[in-house]
């Protein structure tokens, strides 16, 4: 299904009609935290230190929640990676007084850092609690600042930040594809967490493309979405653990 070659400026928005989404296979997730560290490294997410972490101010854009079930000796623990769900009906978008957060044409819930004035209404509105606030100026003691990713802002105090599905990688792939006159392939965009995950529990792709891997997995009978009943229409689909697809 080859599409016509077009320079990026003339690329029509509705031709894309993409909805970026992620599928998280809970049967594969081992809670190893590789995604957590990969995200910190890719997105210049600051480390807050022990004191602030104890106060609940840590800034992880993706976290692994661990749930205990049962009592000893019949106890189980389950892992669930939680990140911004990029909701289709995001509760965080209408509450921002300065419109720093909005929905992009490709389905991302975006945060424009330099517009944010730090009211934290969005953080309060988010039912998944995935938005992190920079309570203090982030500190990168030299030469740790040499590692910072130039494709991502370094946020300062007073700004809310959260997972962006590595929009810098999406943007880069789309630009390169347009420059080469080809389409973006399924699987070409890999956010840092998806790329690093050793058991391949994370799959990223276009949920509006029925042929994409993410789309196919999202139709699994194991699929569910978090807090679905709230009507947020998340773009992250979880696959229940403990069962086969067969």
């Amino acid at each position: 299904m080859a599409k016509a070659v077009r320079a990026s400026a003339e690329q029509k928005l509705e031709e894309n009609n993409r909805r970026w989404g992620m599928v998280i296979d809970l049967d594969r997730c081992t809670g190893c935290q590789a995604c957590v560290v990969a995200c910190h490294a890719e997105n210049n997410v600051p480390v807050v230190g022990e004191h602030e972490a104890t106060r609940g101010h840590s800034m992880h854009w993706i976290r692994i929640e661990r749930y205990w079930e049962g009592e000893y000796p019949n106890v189980k623990a389950r892992f669930m990676p939680v990140l911004c769900q990029h909701c289709g009906e995001a509760p965080c978008e209408p509450v921002c007084p300065v419109f720093a957060t909005y929905h992009t044409p490709e389905g991302l819930n975006a945060q424009v850092y330099n517009r944010c004035i730090g009211t934290r209404f969005c953080g309060a509105a988010c039912p998944y609690k995935v938005r992190a606030f920079n309570w203090f100026r982030p500190d990168f003691p030299e030469p740790l600042d040499q590692q910072l990713n130039p494709d991502v802002s370094v946020r300062q105090r007073g700004i809310i930040e959260k997972c962006s599905f590595c929009v810098q990688r999406i943007r880069r792939v789309e630009l390169d594809a347009a420059a080469s006159g080809r389409e973006v392939e399924d699987g070409e965009v890999q956010p840092a967490c998806v790329q690093s995950c050793p058991p391949s529990a994370l799959i990223f792709g276009d949920l509006n493309d029925p042929e994409s891997e993410a789309s196919q997995f999202s139709r699994s009978r194991r699929a569910f979405r978090l807090l679905d009943f709230l009507g947020t229409d998340p773009a992250v689909v979880y696959l229940k653990g403990g069962e086969t697809n067969v």
């Binding site: 049967d27 594969r28 997730c29 081992t30 809670g31 190893c32 935290q33 590789a34 957590v36 560290v37 910190h40 490294a41 480390v47 807050v48 230190g49 022990e50 972490a53 609940g56 840590s58 992880h60 976290r63 692994i64 929640e65 661990r66 749930y67 205990w68 009592e71 000893y72 000796p73 106890v75 189980k76 623990a77 892992f79 939680v82 609690k129 982030p138 003691p141 030299e142 030469p143 740790l144 600042d145 040499q146 590692q147 910072l148 990713n149 130039p150 802002s153 370094v154 946020r155 300062q156 840092a192 790329q195 690093s196 995950c197 050793p198 058991p199 391949s200 403990g242 086969t244 067969v246």
Partner: protein
């Protein structure tokens, strides 16, 4: 959509002007221009160049590619072509840039001018340092008085070091690091030697196994090759057509690996072997499974009483039978003896008992079973660095204590921190006149050195690593600098080669290379023209170039080798009961020190990303804690975040309580990794070092590292210390994310 009514352009014009005037600028980082004298040919400004190398955060040897922009390394990813990890990378691998760019690295060679332990360092020029080292070596009356300890050396360093020491007539290096010890690498090599006649680590084909019984192997966290194992686990679960593998974890404490298991069997510490024997007995007795007749193996289990095993383990005979059926009736069962098991006094017999299960079910060389690595077809790469037993370490300590060691050098090891305090490494060092460290950081052992000649960190260095445990084909992982060395550090291999040159004689002849790169290029040439190589080149120089681009060498196709059970026991197997130090009345709890997923054996403590990454099971960070069963916690009248004194027959420490549902009531667990006194601002003065609690046992003197054999008692102090947990504890025992 307010933006459409108000013209955005006007709004922002005003805003920009006002912002500039008020001096408020919403950016923390400024862009700087960096012109070149001569531009690097392969680079586009603003675009990255990717360099292939090897991760060295643990002994596994995963391939990495590093994104370098303008000479600065920005991101590490797994090398998608590398057969071991195929583009994936674990948390510690991702954190590697904080080793390279760590603010507490040494910037040059230093002398601890204020005396050992003073932490007053003066930089010395490299020439002076090397002259001094060379002169001291030459003036040694007896070359046996030179002792070297290396921790997880890369294979190329090991080869050079071994030749050097042999050439000068010194005893071979002691190779010890706590991570490898917790993996049980030395025990594994011995077991392999017993069963299969070679000291190579066996390969478990986890991806194609149908039922996996893991006895204390935290294979999804830090054990052996976690990235490859996790990838295989993912496949075992959801990758194979027609079914999802079953995973059963036998351990006293539910680890993160156990959390991913379908069943957790909370066995008493040290009972792994007894249970494995009982399972084997049931399989043979009831002739279970479709693997063939078990008559030939009956003798192995002649002395096993299932009833006794049931009693000793606290499980019913029915339960043991159920497990035996589950294992034997699978088409592709697999039993894995793990690292925790090697910390007990009966580890050798226990490992044998677990491996025997694979043998009687005929899993050797079969899909989903046990394989041996195919050797790399070149002489330089056939013998990976061995791991020493504890008795070799104790030997070294004894020699130091009696004044037989005049020069002690160490690389990549931090024995004062990593070894139990009872070993007395620090005290022994006091008897050594000259102590030299090659570590890039001032850690607990380096702080007792006279001279520190810092090596490059792994992203700035060269090398190769024969991957062990291997994967489905022979692999040599290559390491190359991704950036210029940040500081005035020097490769230890280059130092050794230069010393060899100066010393002359045998050692100069044995080590003729001018520098490390020359040695590596020559080594790579041994694989040039090999028919199974993934790439081909017309000249050795071209081959060396492709070696670096690919990140090493590997075979283009799978080569799996069937192990031969040459060492099948002829007699009945027995596993003695594990013994523990400290009487049960005074010290009612088994202590389980475990390798931290993030900090590993303590080496990750200087990386803030790893410190802030939550432990998967407790979500706690930045400190040490003790995990106690809820019932035991109630009987001790302790709750979450209470500080307690943890005392063994040897020592004591304080830690905050985590009430942990997934642990036996008679066992407590403490993660390894904190309690540093040095090692940089992120590591120092934080938490406690659980190795200080370990009580020596008679088996330790025989080379067993019985890190699981200590008993402790717990006492409430009456203070609280809120741990930096990701989850919130609202007092009801419920958890919610803050």
């Amino acid at each position: 959509m307010v933006g459409k009514e108000i013209s955005r352009r006007t709004f922002f014009k005003v805003a920009a002007g006002a912002a500039a005037a008020s001096g408020l600028s919403p950016q923390v980082r400024r862009i700087a221009l960096e012109p070149f004298v001569r531009p690097p040919e392969e680079e586009l400004p603003g675009r990255a160049t990717w360099f292939a190398s090897t991760c060295r955060q643990c002994p596994a040897g995963c391939g990495i590619i590093v994104r370098v922009i303008n000479g600065r390394a920005r991101k590490i990813e797994g090398n998608p072509n590398h057969p071991l990890n195929r583009g994936k990378l674990c948390a510690r691998g991702q954190s590697g840039l904080q080793v390279l760019y760590n603010p507490d690295r040494l910037h040059n060679a230093v002398r601890q001018s204020g005396g050992r332990g003073s932490r007053i360092f003066s930089p010395i020029p490299w020439d002076e340092a090397l002259n001094e080292l060379s002169a001291t070596l030459q003036s040694l009356r007896d070359p046996q008085a030179l002792a070297v300890l290396a921790g997880q050396p890369s294979d190329h360093l090991y080869t050079i070091l071994a030749s050097f020491l042999e050439g000068v007539g010194a005893p071979p290096a002691v190779i010890f690091d706590l991570h490898s010890a917790l993996d049980g690498r030395a025990d594994y090599a011995s077991m392999s030697s017993r069963w299969f006649g070679e000291r190579q680590l066996p390969i478990y084909d986890l991806a194609h196994a149908q039922v996996v019984f893991s006895f204390g192997a935290n294979l999804l966290e830090t054990w052996m090759s976690p990235v490859a194992q996790s990838a295989a686990y993912g496949q075992m679960r959801q990758g194979s057509l027609g079914g999802r593998g079953v995973f059963v974890q036998f351990e006293p404490r539910l680890s993160a690996t156990g959390a991913s298991a379908d069943e957790w069997i909370p066995i008493p510490p040290g009972s792994e072997g007894i249970i494995a024997l009982a399972l084997g007995r049931i399989i043979v007795e009831e002739n279970l499974g479709r693997a063939g007749k078990h008559n030939g193996h009956a003798h192995l289990y002649r002395n096993v009483s299932v009833a006794d095993a049931a009693q000793a383990s606290g499980f019913s005979v029915e339960e043991l039978r159920r497990l035996a059926h589950l294992f034997a009736e699978a088409d592709r069962p697999l039993a894995i003896p793990g690292g925790q098991l090697t910390g007990h006094t009966n580890s050798a017999q226990a490992m044998d008992a677990v491996m025997a299960l694979n043998v009687i079910m005929r899993r050797l060389g079969r899909s989903g079973g046990v394989f041996m690595p195919q050797p790399v077809p070149a002489e330089r790469f056939t013998s990976p660095a061995p791991t020493s037993n504890l008795d070799e370490v104790l030997d070294l300590v004894e020699r130091m204590r009696s004044g037989d060691v005049e020069i002690f050098m160490f690389h990549g090891a931090n024995p004062i921190y990593e070894l139990p305090a009872w070993v007395g490494f620090k005290e022994a060092l006091e008897e050594v006149p000259l102590v030299i460290s090659f570590n890039p950081f001032v850690d607990e052992t380096a702080v007792q050195a006279d001279l520190i000649l810092p090596d490059h960190t792994y992203l700035e260095g060269w090398g190769y690593q024969v991957v062990s445990p291997s994967i489905d084909r022979p692999v040599v992982s290559g390491q190359q600098p991704v950036t210029q060395p940040l500081h005035d550090t020097r490769s230890t291999v280059d130092i050794l080669l230069s010393l060899a040159n100066r010393l002359g004689g045998t050692v100069a002849r044995d080590l003729p290379w001018n520098d490390e790169v020359g040695f590596l290029e020559e080594s790579s040439a041994q694989l040039h023209d090999n028919s199974i190589s993934i790439y081909d080149a017309r000249t050795p120089a071209g081959f060396w170039s492709l070696w670096r681009q690919h990140g090493g060498w590997w075979s283009k196709r799978e080569i799996k080798r069937e192990p031969e059970a040459v060492g099948m026991p002829k007699e009945a197997m027995t596993v003695p009961a594990a013994t523990f130090q400290g009487d049960e009345a005074t010290y009612p709890f088994h202590l389980m020190p475990y390798s931290s997923l993030t900090l590993s054996d303590g080496r990750g403590a200087n990386q803030p990303w790893l410190q802030e990454t939550p432990d998967p099971m407790t979500t706690a960070r930045w400190n040490t804690w003790i995990e106690i069963n809820p019932e035991s916690a109630r009987s001790l009248a302790v709750r979450d975040n209470d500080m307690v004194n943890v005392t063994s027959a040897f020592g004591s420490l304080q830690a905050a309580v985590v009430v942990y549902p997934g642990i036996r009531p008679d066992t407590v667990a403490i993660p390894i990794g904190q309690g540093h006194s040095d090692y940089g601002r992120f590591a120092a003065m934080r938490g406690a070092n659980v190795m200080d609690l370990l009580t020596p046992s008679p088996e330790d003197q025989n080379g067993k590292f019985t890190f699981g054999a200590t008993r402790v008692r717990i006492e409430k102090i009456g203070q609280m210390k809120p741990l930096a947990r990701l989850e919130d504890l609202d007092g009801e025992g419920r958890e919610s994310i803050r």
